[in-house]
């Protein structure tokens, strides 16, 4: 029993928590931006997969790691443009379009993978981001390593949260994004182009999602394999709700979730096979559903979320 609690006292545990949280943080921020602007982006799972592949392949083909990040972002923008074009000016169902984008993005990723690497039996490896410890801070006991000895892409994730929060709450652009998700008619009456803002938000958000996916292949692990995103995209959607569409709370949610995930892996090792491992693996998804239920009552969602804006409709 004591072993179950000892897990929390290991610095390596917290290192794993932050590492597991990083792709969730990035993708959750991405989805948050989309939803704040009023667009539900169910393409997240596929965009993460595409980002994972593109990021990895860029490095595999000889590129720099940050170039990989950039290319992942680019592919995110491309799929964001697709999703945005279909849902914003054309006003198609955001649910159906999102599922379609997920199917398209992941199948394109798998197709490209098979095409570019036809002969491989096991996924080829690359040299991923290495941990970059910050001197002095990383020596703090227990949390020092977790917060200050991570890979540059993890630092990027935390910076992204701060950036998203700043833009949303302290800039005119952020005000426009929030307003567009609350009352597009009000924005139109103030001379703001609702379509452009929503499109831009979806593209930017999708870029972050893709980078979140790339984290898996060029920072957390070092190769791309099928089904590697494994439902993280859907979990991020739950995290946005859990965080009440606020970057800070969503970050907290991601950390909490990652903590739970890291814990169940170690708990498995400690209890040693008495409980079927599948039950442990189920917990993240069950937890996400519970989070949704808890937040549903209190949800202060953007009022115009999922309502397509048709100009001049009588």
């Amino acid at each position: 029993m004591g072993e179950a609690f000892d897990i929390f006292l290991q610095a390596s545990f917290w290192v794993a928590v932050v590492r597991i949280a990083s792709p969730l943080i990035l993708a959750t921020m991405g989805e948050l931006i989309c939803e704040r602007a009023g667009v539900l982006n169910l393409g997240i799972e596929g965009i993460m997969t595409a980002g994972a592949f593109v990021g990895w392949y860029t490095v595999y083909a000889g590129g720099d790691l940050w170039l990989g990040v950039l290319m992942a972002g680019v592919i995110g923008v491309v799929f964001g443009l697709l999703h945005g074009t279909l849902t914003v000016p054309l006003g198609l169902s955001q649910h159906v379009t999102g599922i379609g984008v997920t199917l398209l993005a992941s199948s394109l990723a798998y197709f490209s993978y098979r095409l570019l690497l036809p002969q491989v039996s096991s996924p080829p490896k690359i040299e991923p981001f290495q941990p970059l410890p910050i001197p002095f801070l990383s020596d703090i006991p227990l949390f020092g390593q977790a917060l200050f000895a991570q890979t540059p892409l993890t630092y990027f994730a935390f910076v992204a949260v701060a950036l998203v929060a700043w833009v949303l709450y302290r800039t005119p652009l952020g005000l426009a994004i929030r307003a567009v998700g609350e009352n597009p008619a009000a924005c139109e009456a103030q001379g703001i182009d609702v379509t452009l803002i929503r499109l831009g938000a979806v593209m930017a958000g999708s870029a972050l999602m893709a980078i979140g996916g790339a984290f898996l292949t060029i920072s957390a692990f070092n190769s791309f394999f099928f089904e590697m995103v494994n439902g993280r995209g859907w979990i991020c959607i739950a995290l946005v709700v859990f965080g009440s569409w606020r970057p800070g709370k969503a970050l907290l949610g991601a950390i909490l979730f990652a903590a739970f995930d890291a814990y169940q892996v170690r708990l498995q090792q400690v209890t040693g096979g008495v409980v079927p491992y599948q039950l442990f693996l189920m917990m993240p998804y069950v937890l996400s559903i519970l989070a949704l239920i808890v937040m549903a009552r209190k949800a202060s969602y953007p009022k115009a979320l999922m309502v397509p804006y048709r100009k001049g409709e009588r």
């Binding site: 199948s107 197709f111 709700v241 189920m282 069950v286 549903a296």
Partner: protein
């Protein structure tokens, strides 16, 4: 740029835009084929041949279409009532589990009693799986898209647990799979030596039944009304939550039948690779059919043809079989856009 509803829907638009959608899809697929270094027309030819070019191919396509008809119906029924059932995959697997629990010898009944019993149990199980997210939606306002999606992962893990535990086939040489289904519970083949089984017939019966319910019964009317405008439906006296529950029961049950059909008709047992994503592909089938139950049959055969043909093609040409998944996803997006264009007109500034 503005979108305005069209005054009257012209039949030229109803045929023309979907046709354009299919052309656009084929063009995009063609580009990918060229990137793979092959000739698009040759490849399309191979796909067509692999899907419909011989009796064997055609029967294979119909066999592949069978689960897609079930999941397509499940999705169509749900989407009509604006219940976003993305969890057909989970419901399918539960159907497989129940089939195996009841059909591998636990009930030593004769076929004419056992099969209907299993069908009823399967549908109830699938219904229950979808009922949970549906109740969460109507009681707590939790979006069912995410909950049904997450349930897919949970159920799959649950099945994996069962297959390594209570359902494990002791003579399975270590692979996690269930015992084989007994004769009385199986769906026989339609033609000797071919893979097509009576699950296909069951699927057709299901499609016709669903069509009748949707178009001719009070339940179907309620479902459509709730899907179009839940507030107006409620005002008219329709009990919206009850209708959603009934929709969930029907939709979940249909998806579970896909699992029954695959286990009792094709595979003979349950393993983790029972479904290569039929639940998700069912969404494409339903949308391509514009949520029409009879259209689902055609759309399922079309989509199955793409997959079967692509499998066969990729053995001959250098193009990865994932081209089928790409094509199908593209078809979904172009078709949804086409449907919009038939009903609305775009006015440029």
């Amino acid at each position: 740029m503005r979108i305005e509803p069209v005054d009257a829907v012209s039949w030229r638009a109803t045929l023309g835009y979907p046709a354009l959608a299919i052309l656009a899809t084929l063009a995009f697929a063609g580009v990918l084929v060229m990137l793979a270094g092959a000739n698009p027309f040759a490849v399309f030819g191979l796909v067509l041949k692999g899907a419909f070019g011989s009796q064997f191919a055609f029967l294979e396509t119909l066999t592949r279409a069978t689960p897609l008809i079930f999941t397509g119906l499940a999705v169509a029924v749900a989407f009509r009532a604006k219940l976003w059932n993305i969890g057909a995959e989970a419901q399918l697997y539960i159907g497989g589990v129940v089939t195996v629990v009841l059909g591998t010898g636990a009930l030593p009944w004769a076929g004419f009693a056992l099969k209907p019993a299993i069908i009823v149990a399967v549908m109830m199980a699938g219904a229950l799986v979808l009922l949970v997210p549906t109740l969460l939606k109507s009681r707590f306002g939790v979006d069912e898209v995410v909950t049904t999606l997450l349930l897919n992962f949970i159920v799959l893990l649950f099945v994996s647990m069962l297959l390594e535990g209570v359902l494990k086939n002791p003579m399975g040489m270590g692979w996690p799979q269930s015992r084989r289904v007994i004769e009385a519970a199986s769906l026989p083949k339609i033609l000797q030596g071919k893979r097509l089984h009576y699950g296909f017939v069951l699927a057709l019966v299901a499609a016709i039944s669903v069509w009748f319910v949707m178009a001719r019964t009070t339940l179907g009317y309620e479902m459509r009304a709730v899907g179009h405008n839940p507030q107006a439906a409620r005002f008219a006296g329709i009990r919206v939550n009850l209708v959603l529950v009934k929709t969930a029961l029907l939709s979940g049950g249909l998806a579970a039948l896909a699992g029954f059909s695959e286990v009792a008709g094709l595979k003979g047992n349950l393993s983790l690779d029972l479904s290569p994503g039929y639940g998700y592909t069912g969404i494409v089938v339903a949308m391509l059919a514009m949520l029409h139950p009879l259209g689902v049959i055609a759309a399922a055969i079309f989509v199955a043809g793409i997959f079967v043909g692509a499998d066969s093609m990729s053995r001959a040409a250098r193009v990865p079989s994932y081209i089928a998944d790409v094509t199908v996803a593209t078809a979904l997006l172009t078709m949804v856009a086409a449907i919009l264009l038939t009903r609305y007109r775009i006015r440029w500034r």
